[in-house]
Symmetry: C2
Subunit: 416 residues, 2 copies
């Protein structure tokens, strides 16, 4: 070891650190402000929808508006979160118009109760901000990728109030098995600043209480593993459902207006039949599930509502609906077996999130941030088992599996 | 997406899961039992040393015995934890005799107060168990690597009582930037079972209390970042010191007996001059640091004591001494600036651990398991900054840096 020849390396690290600290401060601030505006926008739209039941029937109008916004901003065929992932793993470019497009479309979707999230949208908004700042600072392609990850983490942290999960998610989601640690400081700084700003501005993150966490022993551990097996299976089904419904819409209806109008009609019909609990992002279901109060079929219905809305062109992302499906599934499992529905709701939620995003570390972090540290051992079991068994399915078809889930080998394949 | 063609994949995952669940149950049980025996062995040796001050002067005897054990088991020149890392990243083979060798040598080291850990030894013992079970089950090379990681996690979890950190450490330490997720279930299961068994048998993990965690805001965050900068610098210094002292011993003294006798003489001399606080693994220093009660120079002295003992041939590993150095450094920093010495001790400890092991996720998990979740934001800052700035230095020269710490690029170099 020659320590002298490495001095430029250490100086280089210092330069890297100062540079990215400054950039992340700016990134976190911009993402925090934009994310807060977006978060409040979504929250008000959701509230407006709840207070004005007729809004559901305006879904065709919001649908048409969403298409018009996409046409006006030349974003028809926008690949959503996949575009952001590809901008990091390949040479795909993000255009700034993605930001207003997803911002407005998500709010329109929530105004009329579509079953859609907001975190996927936040990842896209953050990615755009990162890309734009990268351009402003004349970054080369590699640094711009770090900036995009930092932006994703910043906005995710601002909107969801889980900065640690947000930091890790941006690095972990692109290539399964590879952690882009070059983005560690930029992601951590931007997520914490983003979340700090949004909470100071009054946008509070989610947090739930597990009613009772039993002492760790063989029986509850085995039951949680069983739940995670189910979670892996449901994850795969949910991914297939989302992708197949979208394909079906595209195959049967070439015209984007026809597609979103059909989706609106179907969604309104479903809501009239099954009720409005399945409209919106789904935190209502998570809350009910944490108290063990959801019907057995809730997770299936939430999957269906989400596939119908997102597949037809409504916007916002799949993350919160995924959490709602998982929590409902977990509570149903717990109620069925008479075993801790509240803990099962939490573990089901994490199992499903790990299964569809293939990000086990971010999911475990999210578990601690949403539910506290007490259930740690159960969370770790639920996440690792569901991750291992959900195969190469995922929400994002642009996600890469760089390493095998079952063998220590390089595979470099894409998600289903 | 053709779901039918993927059925063998899902069935394959099921077979993988059942197979590895059974193997990990066995692995966790064996590692839990052996780890507990080892843990109690070390604990009794440490107690015996404390109660019998003359033991310090028997260091030359324990030194000679260590060399004899190595000769008898044909383990002279054993590369320690590096051997285990190489057995995973290359075709290097582990022999079973490593297990009794490191088991006995570590206990002999602790009986006479050498400044050495026990977790490095646990990693080696666990790796041997994994390798042996892999052989028993006729595993191919790739599966044997997973078995070795699972064994490492199992023993680490049993001895340290931090199963989540233990699970991740085994997967994260080999190649920085690559998470060997194929080992996720085998590592999680074996670490949790190992830790469950050891705690049932009365071997309790470590846990510390941070006296006060201030509300997260700019000033404390900036101070923790400053501490992490210092932590990165001390990490690099500690790695260089350990490696250079070992080289110096080897260069000046060809004979292994002469080397360990010299180390004993130096160590006894240092203990007579500076006191016995720096003998042993160092949890006494961590405890004192958590209350802000360590001298400013403690971290330097602990570095020196450890380099003198380990470089000369005493055994046990570097992990607990690293934690002691980090906690003492953190408390000194806090006392100097009049800012939360207890929180600084915790963050300093994590910063140093992240800096020397290059395992940020395992380090953050360890933070939660040792100190609880309240200080999460500070832990994340300390770990990410120290990781980013500690360069390509590390405790283990066989550790690979697969991806750059500062650029999104493949570099595939070894640690200094």
């Amino acid at each position: 070891m020659n320590t002298r020849e490495d001095l430029p390396g250490i100086v280089g690290n210092g330069v890297y650190f100062v540079r990215w600290t400054l950039i992340s401060l700016l990134m976190g601030t911009v993402c925090g402000l934009v994310g807060t505006a977006f978060g409040f926008g979504v929250a008000y739209s959701q509230q407006f929808f709840r207070e004005n039941p007729f809004m559901l029937f305006l879904m065709p109008v919001s649908g048409i508006l969403i298409v018009l916004v996409h046409k006006a901003l030349d974003q028809v065929g926008n690949k959503g979160t996949n575009l952001i992932l590809e901008s990091i793993s390949s040479t795909e470019q993000i255009r700034f118009s993605t930001l207003p497009c997803i911002f407005i479309s998500t709010i329109l979707s929530h105004l009329t109760g579509a079953s859609a999230g907001k975190e996927g949208a936040a990842l896209q908004i953050g990615g755009c901000i990162g890309n734009t700042l990268g351009g402003l600072f004349h970054m080369d392609e590699r640094d711009k990728k770090v900036a995009i990850m930092s932006g994703m983490s910043g906005c995710f942290g601002a909107i969801f109030g889980t900065p640690l999960a947000a930091s890790m998610f941006g690095m972990e989601v692109i290539s399964v098995g590879v952690a882009y640690y070059a983005a560690l400081v930029p992601c951590v700084f931007s997520a914490f600043i983003g979340s700090f700003i949004s909470s100071r501005l009054g946008l509070h993150g989610e947090a739930f209480t597990i009613l009772h966490v039993p002492e760790f022993s063989l029986k509850p551990a085995a039951l949680i593993v069983l739940l995670a097996l189910l979670g892996a299976f449901v994850s795969v089904c949910f991914c297939i459902l989302l992708h197949e419904v979208q394909k079906l819409y595209k195959a049967k209806l070439q015209n984007v207006y026809a597609r979103i109008l059909t989706a609106s009609a179907l969604f309104i019909g479903l809501s009239l039949v099954f009720g409005r609990e399945y409209c919106g992002a789904g935190f209502n279901l998570v809350e009910a599930a944490m108290e063990g109060n959801v019907p057995y079929e809730a997770f299936l219905l939430k999957m269906l509502f989400t596939a119908v809305a997102l597949g037809g062109g409504f916007k916002g992302g799949e993350i919160v609906p995924t959490l709602a499906v998982g929590a409902s599934m977990g509570a149903a499992f717990g109620n069925l077996l008479g075993f801790e529905p509240s803990l099962c709701a939490a573990c089901g939620m994490l199992a499903l999130f790990a299964g569809v995003t293939n990000c086990p570390v971010a999911t475990i972090f999210m578990g601690f941030e949403l539910f506290g540290f007490e259930g740690m051992k159960y969370f770790a079991l639920a996440v690792s088992v569901s991750f291992a068994l959900s195969g190469y399915y995922g929400l994002y078809s642009s996600q890469k599996f760089t390493y095998s889930k079952t063998r220590t080998e390089f595979i470099n394949r894409k998600a289903h």
